[in-house]
């Protein structure tokens, strides 16, 4: 039986990271040049890590699927990035950011990791400003902040509703500088299909060149995955079309533990589903909840009339509106954390108060804010979001409330890593959304950008040296070893196997089926029965995929359908893992809501005695159930409480 060693440094919480850095091993400049590092992904985590490692003098190979590293999906993050600067003098501190994150994560994250995240958050803001990221400013020239869910302070830095874009372009510019210098070699339109292990250590990758289908091999002393989340297992999500969990699944199959897959974040404010041809869902930033008020009609007959198109929201009188978040959670109101807001919306819609023809939507109303602050002020804050909404929904949110509904957005679960961000495979590191480490069972708004950049700029570049320091004698690897041969052979075999099925179903049609199963049975409210049903249905779907998918074209060619099919095969496997994990976790916490475990008021009911651990799933072979390993979560420095956003 394997044991889990999270390698958390000894000492008081506030000194752990400092102690670690003081005693860790480093690599001297002359030796750095001799060490190669593969970084998969160019989002906030990947680009910042690749750039920083390049600056330090390592030789970096950086891969992305898009035509340019600037297009990774971090670019779509809207609202902002948290930091404990306390520029607003409103009582913020590193401890408070740490505490809010732990509490927001429903006490299912590691204290030491989260404290370190809060600690380096301030460096991130300094770094980004130095790069020329145009954060919003006050008239006096200082940085502006806004509030996000789950916090009572204003600690979110932002650049209009395009914060992710600006931060990513900052990291991209640092990366571009290193590419110019030659310390980073960039490989675009490349998809990593496997990780190569030599003597148990990660030593390279097998890559598909997406423009010609050719398989390429790359070797290095260490491999860093920064590959994002697996939300597209639900087909419809706010993720980009190419976001996937394939590298995570390959790592899992090679021995990396998959941790807490069932912690999936459902974001409360997305534009509702409107048709079966739909390819993705669009997020409306959480920052809108600063000024927007969420409501549904108080009377069922009003909701019915709205659904039938006989009544407009603006015709509903103030006293006939149910601002249900303000009613249920007076202290946090519309700014409760995402999981709480999502469930509350589902509760109202399930009870028959939903709007939109489908009945699956609630209102996000700005009329009061527009009256109070003026249309121009609202436009200055949220202009691009309002414009985006109007383009999609064909309604003017300055005049009529937005319609929103929860959608899959972020995955807190991911590849298990220790304090050094190293997976259970030596030499394989995981950073950003693709690891599980910092958000527990629910991520707070504006914390994804913080974590991606913390890992990439300030954590991994230190911790990876502790691993590489004893690798300096290891010469550069050849890609002609039997391990690379074997990895390439199995990748090509898989490609051919899929292409030779020549069945009757398109990739997307099966992916949509997967999405339906996941949303219906493994979505916002889960039960033992629904999860068991899901596991059965997923088994059938897997069979359907491997016997009836149709992929046109050739293997060695630009073949979009083949790329999608390879990713779908992995999404089905992830779906199974999510369902297994959710079935194992007999409690409700954060984004994981088991309907059997709730308070009389419908709030999540944790079972700390039994489930205060990280579920680490270990691959045991094709067709056999994964093995569960437990990393206990000891709360040394904070007292576990039931989350309370009411008072």
């Amino acid at each position: 039986m394997s044991t889990i060693d999270s390698k958390i440094p000894k000492g008081p919480l506030a000194e752990k990271w400092t102690n670690y850095k003081n005693t860790q091993k480093l690599v001297n400049p002359a030796n750095k040049r001799r060490l190669d590092i593969i970084v998969i992904g160019t989002g906030l985590a990947g680009a910042s890590a690749a750039a920083t490692l390049g600056e330090l003098g390592f030789n970096v190979l950086n891969f992305c699927m898009q035509d340019s590293p600037r297009r990774a999906h971090s670019i779509a993050a809207q609202g902002g990035i948290n930091a404990a600067k306390n520029y607003q003098n409103d009582g913020d501190s590193i401890y408070r950011l740490f505490y809010d994150t732990i509490k927001g994560g429903d006490y299912r994250a590691r204290e030491a990791n989260v404290y370190r995240l809060a600690e380096v958050s301030n460096n991130i803001i300094d770094q980004c400003v130095a790069q020329g990221v145009p954060f919003a400013r006050e008239y006096g020239g200082t940085l502006a902040n806004r509030s996000f869910g789950g916090a009572q302070v204003s600690r979110t830095f932002y650049a209009k509703g395009q914060t992710g874009q600006q931060l990513l372009l900052g990291a991209y510019s640092a990366l571009s500088r290193q590419i110019q210098k030659g310390s980073v070699k960039e490989y675009t339109r490349r998809e990593v299909l496997d990780i190569v292990l030599i003597d148990g250590r990660a030593r390279g990758v097998i890559v598909r060149n997406m423009t010609n289908g050719k398989i390429e091999r790359y070797a290095a002393h260490a491999v860093v995955m920064a590959t994002g989340g697996y939300g597209n297992a639900y087909f419809l999500s706010t993720n980009a079309m190419h976001s996937n969990g394939s590298v995570a699944i390959q790592a899992y199959r090679k021995g990396a533990y998959f941790a807490n897959p069932c912690y999936v974040q459902i974001h409360p404010t997305c534009i509702p589903v409107h048709g079966d041809y739909q390819s993705k869902l669009t997020l409306m930033s959480e920052s809108l909840r600063n000024d927007g008020r969420i409501w549904v009609p108080k009377k069922k007959e009003d909701a019915e009339a709205i659904r039938a198109g006989k009544l407009k929201p603006t015709q509903i009188k103030e006293e006939d509106r149910d601002y249900y978040l303000e009613r249920r959670y007076p202290a946090f109101g519309n700014l409760v954390p995402r999981d709480v807001a999502s469930r509350a919306a589902k509760e109202r819609c399930d009870a028959g108060y939903g709007v939109a023809p489908s009945g699956l939507a609630v209102y996000l109303d700005f009329s009061e804010a527009i009256n109070r602050l003026g249309k121009d002020a609202i436009k200055a804050k949220y202009g691009n979001l309002f414009q985006m909404y109007e383009k999609i929904a064909d309604e003017n949110p300055y005049e009529t409330p937005m319609m929103i509904y929860p959608a899959i957005h972020y995955t807190m679960g991911g590849i298990w890593v220790d304090y050094e961000l190293q997976t259970s495979i030596p030499g394989l590191f995981a950073i950003g959304e693709c690891n599980f480490s910092d958000h527990g069972a629910n991520r707070l708004g504006a914390s994804a950008l913080m974590q991606g950049l913390a890992d990439g700029y300030f954590v991994l570049p230190y911790t990876i040296q502790n691993y590489l320091s004893d690798q300096i004698q290891v010469p550069r690897f050849s890609v002609d070893t039997p391990e690379f041969e074997e990895a390439e052979r199995s990748v090509v075999e898989k490609e051919n196997r899929i292409l030779n099925i020549q069945g009757h179903r398109t990739v997307d049609s099966i992916h949509k089926d997967l999405g339906h199963i996941m949303w219906e049975y493994v979505g916002m409210g889960r039960t033992k029965e629904s999860l068991e049903t899901a596991i059965e249905k997923l088994k059938d779907l897997k069979k359907e995929f491997w016997s009836n998918v149709y992929v046109p074209g050739k293997v060695e060619d630009l073949n979009i359908e083949l790329g999608k099919a390879l990713r779908l095969a992995d999404f089905i496997e992830i779906g199974e893992l999510i369902a297994h994990d959710a079935l194992n976790r007999n409690e409700s916490c954060g984004g994981h809501f088991r309907e059997e475990y709730q308070t009389p008021e419908g709030e999540a009911l944790r079972q700390d005695e039994e489930y205060s651990y990280v579920s680490c799933w270990k691959y045991t072979g094709e067709g056999s159930a994964p093995e569960l390993l437990k990393e206990p979560l000891d709360y040394e420095f904070t007292e576990r409480k039931t989350r309370n956003y009411k008072n």
Binding site: Q131, R137, Y139, G141, S173, A174, Y277, K391
Partner: protein, 251 residues
């Protein structure tokens, strides 16, 4: 309210950069006007795959107008006729029943076709690598509030920084010039105190790289700004010219 329309598409198909391309005609029925342009192409591709034909290759990713990946020339306009949208934000409600819609890739010397509607925009990355950054390493930076920046300047820099690097500007330009793209980055960084130190070097390096990669000259037709999905202003080009001239004069 959603309704549906029938349309005819004339889509550019091209095997690779060296092959000769041609238009292919497709008829689509009952397309919901609530679907996006790319969702309409998804429907067409599903149909093609069902008929065991090769689907149309086109670039796309975020589908919310920010990644800059989508790049279709629709009825003679990059990202279509609608202003301030990327292709993925264009919806079928902007078309009428019976419309014939022509879809082409970006056509610009510096953006060779990879297949069908997919082009290689690597040249934009190379321009950025030539100098589109502030030379600062990770760590050792001053406190973020140590550099006060007026709201006006920060907002102006932000407007320039909004560029998504999609390439519509060069595709729209009769000269195939990348001036709007280059000027947006030069402006953003030249406006900010952090970026001023390197402003001259940056402007020279980026312009030299742009020329080297086969982009044309700017003749102030303004097509780039008119077609830019993010409304990047022509005034950025004026600022680039100023920065470039000053830099050259100092040489």
């Amino acid at each position: 309210m959603a309704k549906s329309i029938n349309i005819t598409l004339k889509v550019w198909r091209q095997k690779d950069a060296k092959s000769k391309g041609h238009f292919e005609t497709y008829h689509l029925e009952n397309i919901s006007t609530d679907s996006s342009f790319l969702e309409m192409l998804d429907i067409l591709n599903e149909k093609l795959v069902d008929e065991h034909k090769e689907p149309i290759a086109f670039d796309h990713d975020c589908r919310e107008g920010i990644c800059g990946m989508c790049s279709l020339y629709i009825n003679g306009h990059p990202h279509g006729y609608e202003s301030e949208v990327t292709t993925c934000q264009l919806h079928m409600r902007k078309f009428k029943d019976g419309d014939v819609i022509t879809v082409e890739p970006w056509r610009s010397r510096a953006f060779p076709v990879i297949r069908d509607l997919m082009v290689d925009r690597g040249a934009y990355d190379k321009i950025m690598q030539a100098g589109g950054y502030i030379s600062v390493n990770t760590g050792g930076t001053p406190d973020a509030n140590a550099i006060p920046i007026s709201k006006e300047i920060a907002d102006e820099a932000m407007d320039a920084a909004t560029c998504i690097g999609c390439g519509a500007c060069a595709a729209a330009c009769k000269n195939g010039s990348a001036m709007l793209f280059v000027s947006a980055k030069v402006s953003q960084l030249a406006l900010l105190p952090q970026g001023k130190l390197e402003a001259a070097r940056r402007a020279k390096a980026m312009v030299a790289k742009m020329d080297e990669l086969g982009f044309g000259n700017c003749t102030n037709t303004g097509a780039c700004a008119a077609e830019c999905p993010k409304s990047i202003s022509l005034s950025n080009i004026a600022r680039l010219n100023r920065e470039f001239l000053c830099a050259k004069l100092k040489d």
